[in-house]
Structure formats: C-alpha cells, structure tokens
Symmetry: C2
DNA sequence: TATTTTTTTGAAATCGATATCATTTTGTTT
DNA sequence: AAACAAAATGATATCGATTTCAAAAAAATA
C-alpha cells in the first residue's frame, strides 16, 4: 500500500510540505535544485498523493462521472470510449456507472456521484427526466447530456438530427418503390421517437403519400419490444411493404418475428433500423441502418463539459447536432419499381 | 450543490458534530430523541456527507474498482453486471475502468485506483501480468481476478475449466464424425489458450485420433485475428473438416473468411466457438459455442473479494472454477457419419 | 438521598493534502 | 556595501468528516 505521506517526503528531502506540494503541482516558484531533490525522494518512497486528501482540500477531483443506462449496448459503449479518451487527454478521469436499465439504480448512482464530488456528470440514459437534470444543475453540478436536447436550460447537449434521419430512411424506402411504410417507434415520449415521427411524416408528405396512423406502433427500443410491436402492427391488418424501426434492436425483433412467420426480408418486407450496432452486419440479410458518429458525440460532449467546468464565464455553443449517415444494405435493397 | 456540512447540521440541531456523525453511521449510543432531531435536520438541509473527507478519515471508500480490457465486448459487460450487483447488495460501489485494449491505459487506471483509495480491485483483463498482480497484492491492495488462475499467491480467482470446455467441444465434433479438427487458439501464452489446447489433445487421444501440429494456429482472440489465423491454417494444406475456435470472436473471423472463400458451414466446415456472445445467435448458421456463467463469475468473485476485505483472518476458498455448457447449434450439426 | 453504573454527549485530535501569508534567501541596482 | 526587488521556502490554517477520550446526564442501586 502506499503509506508514505507528503510529510514523509518533506522530511526526507529536508524541505517543508509546502515545497513538496509545489513540486507535485508543478509550481514554478521552486528552485531547480530543490525540485530535483524532492522528485528523487518521491521516486525513492514511491509516493503518490492521497486522492481523498487532495479532493477534500482542493474541492475538485479531476474526475467526471458517466451514467449510462446499459453498458452492454454497444451503442453506448462507443460513446463512452469517446468521452473517456477526450477526458483523459484533458487530464480527467472517468467513472462509469451502469444503471443496468433500472431507474432506481440510476438514481443511486446519481447520488453516489454527487457525494463522490465528481467535477461533472455526463448522462447517456433515457431514464432521468429533463426536470431531474435541470434540478441537478440548479443544485450546482456540471451536467451534460448525450442523445437529447434539454430546452430552456444551460445544459450542454449533443444529439443527432432525428428529423433528417427519418427523412433519409423514408425517402430511401420510397425510392425503392414502397408506398406503405410502417414506423416502429420507441417510447412514445422519447424525443428520438417523436422527432423521427416528424421526419417520417415530412418524407411522406414530400412524396405525396398519405399518412396512415395505423402504420405507427410504439416499442421500447429493445429487441423484444420491437418483436411485440411488430406483431401488433401485423394485427392491425393495415398492410405495408416496408418498416422503419426506431433503432436496430427493434429491427432485430422484426427479423425474429419475420423468421417465425416466414416473411422474407427484403422481398416481402424491407427493414431499416437506426444506430448501426455491430450485429446489423452479421444478420442475414444485413440490416440497412443509420450510422451515428457515436465516438465523436462522446468526445465532443466531454470536451465541452470540461471546458465549461474550467471557465468562469462561457459564451460557447451549448447544443451540438451531429450528422448521421444512411447505410443501405440488403434488408432494404429490393426494389419494387419495375 | 451540497454545501451543507456536518457542522451545519450539528449547529442547527443543537448538538455536536460527533453526535451527528454517530447518527450518520448508525451508532447505537445516541438517544432516540436526538437521533430523530438530527435526522430531521439532515432532511431539511438535504445534507449528504462529503465523501472525500469521509474517505480521508476512515481510510475506506466502500468502493471497488474494476479494470476491464474492453467494455464493448459483451462478454465482459456481463461479468461486470455480476460484480456490480453483488457489490451493490453488499453496500459497495463500483468504478469501472475501461482499458480499451491498451496496456498503457490499463496501467494508468491501476495507478488511478491506487490513489483513489478504492478498497479493492477486480481485474477482468489479460494485459496485466501475474507478476504485476502479485506486486499489487504485496503492496497491500485487495485484488481479485476473473478469467485466470494466479498460482502461488493469495489472490482470489475465478475461472472456467478450460480443459473440460475443449474436451466437450472436440468430443462433440468427433461424435459428428470429424477426424481432422483444427484448433484456432488465442494468444499462445494465455492460460485459456494452452489449457484448451490440453483439452483438445486429450479429446483426440481419447478417440485414438492423431495430433497434427499443423492443425494448430494462434490468433489474438479478436475477429480479425481469427480471420488471419484461419487463412494461415488454410495455407498449410493440412486438411480439416472442423474448427474449434478459442472464442466466438475468432469464430466470426472464420465465418467471414468462409463467406469470402465460399466455404459452406457446416457442410464443408464445422465451426465451434467459446463464450456465447450475443452475435452467435444472429449469424447464419447459428454458431455452436460454450456458455460460461459470466454473470455468476462476476458476482461470486465480488462477493469473495468483499468478504476478504472485511475479515482480518480468512481460511476461505480462494480459487473458484465454474462449469460451462456446450451449446450445439447449426454450425456444427452436420454429421459426417453415415 | 447518596452513590454507583450506564447512557449520552461534546471537545479536540486526526486523516493528508493545498494555499495563504510571512519570512528568508538570493539577485540587482545604485 | 547598502538598499531594494525578486525568488524560494516554511509555518500554519484549512477542507469535512471520524474517532478517542473525557465529561455530563440519566438510570439504577444501595
């Protein structure tokens, strides 16, 4: 264990703790001679400063906490890597908290982070409501959010242009000759859901196609939810030849149902998802989807958050919107035009 | 921000900080009356103790650090969930450090954890050598390791019976009528690799089949490494009808190469992997693999580590070996017997 | 009621760092 | 060499909790 303290270093080097502290923190008001002697002693004793003491006194931990709803989802894992690498390069450490899809667990982590005196928090989760986030800010915490836009607040947010995503997907399907396109949405109240719905409707309107409410069904962003929602959609008997799933997981649920019902993709049904999770390249047929710059989103947001933490005044941009890219693969490349 | 301190609570409640501390820590030498008054004030001020101060004084953080080589690998994610839930239920928090497959990054996290005064560390990574782990222990840290066995040490370890895994897989292939079975190993020096090689050889011997050194090739546990190693294997011209990959990622590499070379699985080549990662169920044909009780491994190890941290003397079991289960799916269910 | 025991409480030291302010040392200028 | 400025160092308060030890209050006993 590291049982040497700053005072041990000071004694051994024949200086005061203040001087050692200066050396430790790279102050320039210490002579080169003293500095090298202290550093040598630090080396000899294999001394490392006690973080608790340091945090207590300096009131900062050079750590940011990341709360993620489920690390097992590779989509999130990628974002976290972006956050982590950017934070590290700015000399910050990252603590990852996995809420495991449980709201209570998430709440527990939030209070853990509050107590742990992390200098900032990034939320990559749909559970915490906007109000709760704003409350955290009002409580004095540095908060940032990826994946959604918090209106009427000062919270740095990074999100994708969901309307454009939906327009891209639906336009592509229309181009392939589809006229009745179902939309498998996520949670009805998730911003992703209704923004994509908006894009979906826009694209239909743009192509002079009717909007059929029966072709909309809500899921929960998970595979099983997609499966169930798809079955409900089929139950409605409003026929459709293509389906736009709000994310890849739900699209996988559609795949599963199609397999069981012997519906062939893409001949009988074209499917497009969103997120470009790894599995999409391994399923047959490969799933058309939308690539989001996940890593970049994480990195950019981390940078902005840390910037803000270190400036007293900032007039910087708060909301960031990144571009996504439609990846056309086999699941949607059967043209119905002749 | 939580700016109220213990002394604020004390003043407002008209007691000393010692008393508040007692209430906070559930000491039973405080009267019921005082206790409820203090608790009410805590509530009113929305007070939470400062973790840095607490850690500094009590020299424990009720936190364990988990170093994982790559959170994006769902295999690890599952283990972490096990660790986390067990730790939480024992009132410990978990800090996840993602080494992103970089040894230096891992080293950085190790020193971070050392300073952060986590009470214990769990390593889910192949990078840190046994020596380095032992050094950590000698330095006074509570360390535990998942996925390998550290000999001549007191480190709690949890691992699977790799020999049995290999025997199960190879015996299954032999039963299907295969006589020339290639083994796509991982890093040559990884314990998983040579234990599985041992099982592979044992199974062959048991069936009176010859051991052909040319049928062994090493990869790196990743998809691309599996792809490359498989190509090298093909280059050797020692023919084989089945392949046992040291993990699923490498088996996916084999799938990729087979697709490019129009080798059909399982008719021309049977493939079996290990780990049962999610993708195995989505590829065509579904990949036969070996399920490891990942969640249980994480949970059990966390429990043992925390037990040890809290006991001065322990004569408890140190090494845990969990059972794995072969999952036969389509990639290996084409029988060559007639 | 006086005395002893038990229960509650508080004062103050402590954990190990940082940061302020005073002081000493060194270097410059006249 | 004297006077002053600048650079380097140290003594000490401080962060906010826990913990020890002593003191006070309450309860039990004589």
């Amino acid at each position: 264990m590291n049982d040497s303290r700053i005072i041990d270093v000071a004694n051994r080097a024949g200086v005061s703790v203040a001087t050692v502290s200066r050396v430790l923190n790279g102050s320039n008001l210490v002579s080169g001679k003293t500095k090298s002697r202290v550093m040598q002693v630090i080396e000899e004793l294999n001394y490392t400063p006690n973080a608790a003491a340091k945090n207590l006194r300096s009131k900062r931990s050079m750590t940011i906490g990341v709360v993620v709803s489920d690390i097992e989802v590779s989509y999130y894992a990628e974002i976290i890597k972006g956050i982590e690498n950017m934070a590290n390069s700015l000399h910050y450490n990252v603590i990852i908290c996995d809420a495991q899809n449980q709201k209570e667990k998430e709440a527990g982590y939030v209070s853990l982070l509050q107590n742990r005196t992390v200098d900032g928090m990034i939320f990559v989760t749909p559970f915490l409501s906007n109000q709760e986030l704003v409350a955290l800010v009002e409580d004095g915490f540095n908060v940032a959010v990826v994946g959604r836009l918090i209106e009427h607040s000062d919270i740095p947010c990074i999100h994708t242009d969901n309307v454009k995503i939906a327009i891209d997907v639906v336009s592509h399907l229309i181009e392939q000759g589809h006229e009745r396109i179902a939309f498998l949405s996520g949670y009805a109240d998730a911003i992703d859901s209704y923004e994509r719905l908006e894009g979906y409707m826009k694209a239909l309107r743009g192509a002079n196609l009717p909007f059929i409410p029966d072709l909309i069904e809500n899921g929960d962003f998970n595979e099983d939810g997609g499966y169930q929602a798809f079955l409900r959609l089929l139950g409605k008997k409003a026929s459709f030849t293509a389906i736009f799933a709000a994310n890849d997981e739900m699209a996988l649920g559609v795949y599963l149902a199609c397999k069981e019902l012997s519906i062939s993709i893409p001949e009988q049904l074209a499917v497009v998802g969103v997120d470009n999770i790894r599995i999409t390249k391994y399923v047959t047929p490969r799933l058309s989807t939308v690539e989001q710059p996940k890593y970049t989103m994480g990195a950019l947001l981390a940078e902005k958050l840390i910037d803000r933490m270190n400036e007293d005044v900032y007039h910087d941009q708060r909301v960031f919107c990144v571009e996504s890219k439609l990846l056309i693969r086999e699941s949607s490349s059967f043209s119905r035009k002749q």
